[in-house]
């Protein structure tokens, strides 16, 4: 699979009055990836996605879709290879699910068979003739996803697609999104304020905080940041640290504690013996975990819900 970036933003900025809700975002979404766009509520996720879709004009910066810089002339043509679901689903309540999709199908110029197929994918085929006003929120959300899937675009942009869904619906939506790259060769850009959700769906992640992209890499790389440490509380931490360093053991000091990278139990026992032999009192041995949540919270300023 090509590693071409389907979406690239360069210094993408949006300012309302004096407030910069998106500030110099450089986003890169690789072809075939599920890119999780993560951030607390109000961080600028929706605004960024709206700018990519041309629904909001950037104050500064450029957007490249499928390797082509987007301008007003080619915007619609480039977006024809894109499906989107922004914030809440778009629908005509007085029409049936199928009639809604027929409108989008007409505008997208895709095959009529696509309507049947996407209805099956989102499991709405039994409710296709029901008026959308009579749909539950979950069904409306699935209809929104069906609209986005029409024409089987190369790129799918989903803004908080599990909003308002019950746990079963969330699970269903998540499985569906995860299956899209392998089943239809789609690249998915999905936003959420829930780390757990992105953790279960995405393979790439971008974290936005107060309009700034504070992290962007593979989810694997983010997981690598999540590490465990051994902490020893000792009587004379500075002296103990020096002694250990002289023995070639790398450690860092944090108040009364000495911190070590995760190690086997036998090494820990050895370490303790050495310190006691040097007349250093050992008060406590702790295992410290830096979880994905801790990293996310440190990146986003502890403002998000997990």
């Amino acid at each position: 699979m090509s590693t071409q970036n389907l979406v690239e933003t360069h210094n993408l900025t949006k300012q309302y009055g004096r407030f910069r809700c998106v500030n110099a975002v450089n986003m890169q979404v690789t072809s075939g990836a599920i890119y999780g766009f993560l951030g607390p509520n109000g961080a600028g996720k929706s605004t960024t996605l709206k700018m990519i879709l041309g629904l909001a004009r950037p104050t500064e910066g450029d957007i490249t879709l499928f390797g082509i810089p987007v301008n007003e002339k080619n915007r619609i043509k480039l977006l024809s290879q894109t499906g989107s679901l922004i914030e809440s689903p778009s629908y005509y309540g007085h029409l049936s699910g199928e009639e809604n999709l027929r409108i989008i199908q007409t505008l997208k110029g895709c095959s009529k068979k696509d309507v049947d197929e996407v209805l099956k994918i989102v499991r709405l085929d039994s409710a296709r003739h029901k008026l959308v006003n009579h749909y539950s929120l979950g069904m409306k959300q699935r209809l929104g996803l069906a609209s986005a899937l029409l024409g089987f675009p190369r790129l799918l942009i989903l803004d908080e697609p599990t909003n308002g869904l019950d746990p079963a619906g969330i699970q269903e939506m998540r499985e569906l999104i995860c299956s899209l790259p392998s089943a239809y060769g789609m690249t998915v850009l999905v936003s959420s304020h829930l780390l757990s959700e992105i953790d279960q769906m995405a393979d790439h992640v971008g974290i936005i905080r107060k309009g700034e992209l504070v992290y962007q890499n593979t989810l694997e790389s983010l997981h690598a940041h999540a590490r465990s440490q051994i902490a020893l509380r000792v009587s004379h931490a500075a002296v103990a640290a020096d002694l250990l360093r002289q023995d070639g053991i790398d450690t860092s000091q944090e108040e009364d504690y000495l911190l070590f990278p995760m190690m086997e139990d036998s090494y820990v026992a050895n370490l303790c013996r050495r310190l006691i032999a040097q007349n250093i009192s050992l008060y406590r041995v702790e295992k410290r975990e830096t979880s994905l949540e801790d990293i996310f919270l440190s990146l986003t300023g502890k403002e998000s819900s997990l």
Binding site: A56, Y92, T106, G109
Partner: protein
């Protein structure tokens, strides 16, 4: 054409045609009442009388009718938050044009329906002579232009405001203003007074003999300007509405 086709797909079950037919039938009922049991004089002047009544009824009713039409065509987009999807599929200008043309077709149907009704009414009432088709054709054009200018104004408001009460109240105020304008002058540069400016027939009521005489109006230079203003309003409302719609972020 494809975008226009979807406009008609969207209004399925919205009964826009039925709503407008019911509203227009109120006007037709008024016509039937206003022209009931004609005397000898009315029979002789009946064809001109119809052209004199038409703009007076339109100036009162059409601002409200057009606000209803524009609202029926626009509120479905607000309710379903659809523009954030539609604007990724079509240029905003094309979406606006489709809405304009969709409404324009209804306006054309209403205008043709009104003139057709007047002709049928005249023949049913056995008015003397034959209708002056030149004036009736001109009335059709003016009627259409005045309705279109009001429709465009109302469409812009309906697309701008989520709450459709605002454009509907503007429409009702327009009707009220039309009623007031009618008693001031037989022309106006305001969009709601276009029907008065374009009125082809006038009425002379002799207070002593209490005889009503209808006549075809000879427009003065300022009245011609007022007629021209109707067409200027169409351009102004179309251009400003299109720009506002295109620039609006969703």
């Amino acid at each position: 054409m494809i975008t226009l086709r979807t406009e008609f797909q969207k209004i399925k079950r919205r009964r826009v045609g039925l709503t407008m037919s019911v509203l227009i039938s109120v006007q037709f009922a008024w016509f039937l009442w206003a022209t009931k049991s004609p005397g000898e004089k009315e029979l002789a002047q009946g064809w001109i009388e119809l052209l004199q009544i038409l703009p007076l009824l339109n100036v009162i009713m059409m601002p409200t009718f057009m606000s209803v039409l524009a609202s029926r065509l626009s509120d479905l987009e607000h309710k379903g938050n659809t523009y954030k999807q539609l604007k990724t599929l079509r240029r905003p200008g094309i979406l606006f044009d489709a809405k304009v043309i969709c409404g324009l077709l209804f306006v054309a149907a209403i205008s043709i329906g009104q003139i057709a009704f007047l002709l049928v009414l005249g023949f049913c009432r056995h008015y003397l002579g034959s209708p002056d088709m030149h004036y009736y054709a001109l009335a059709l054009v003016f009627n259409f232009a005045c309705c279109l200018s009001l429709y465009l104004l109302q469409l812009n408001l309906s697309l701008l405001f989520f709450n459709q009460m605002i454009p509907l109240v503007v429409g009702l105020c327009g009707s009220l203003l039309g009623l007031i304008l009618m008693y001031i002058k037989m022309y106006s540069f305001l969009p709601w007074g276009g029907f008065l400016s374009c009125a082809l027939a006038g009425m002379d009521w002799n207070i002593e003999t209490r005889i009503v005489t209808y006549f075809y109006r000879e427009h003065s230079a300022i009245e011609y300007c007022a007629i021209g203003m109707v067409f200027i309003w169409i351009i102004v409302f179309y251009v400003t509405g299109r720009i506002a719609f295109t620039r609006k972020e969703v």
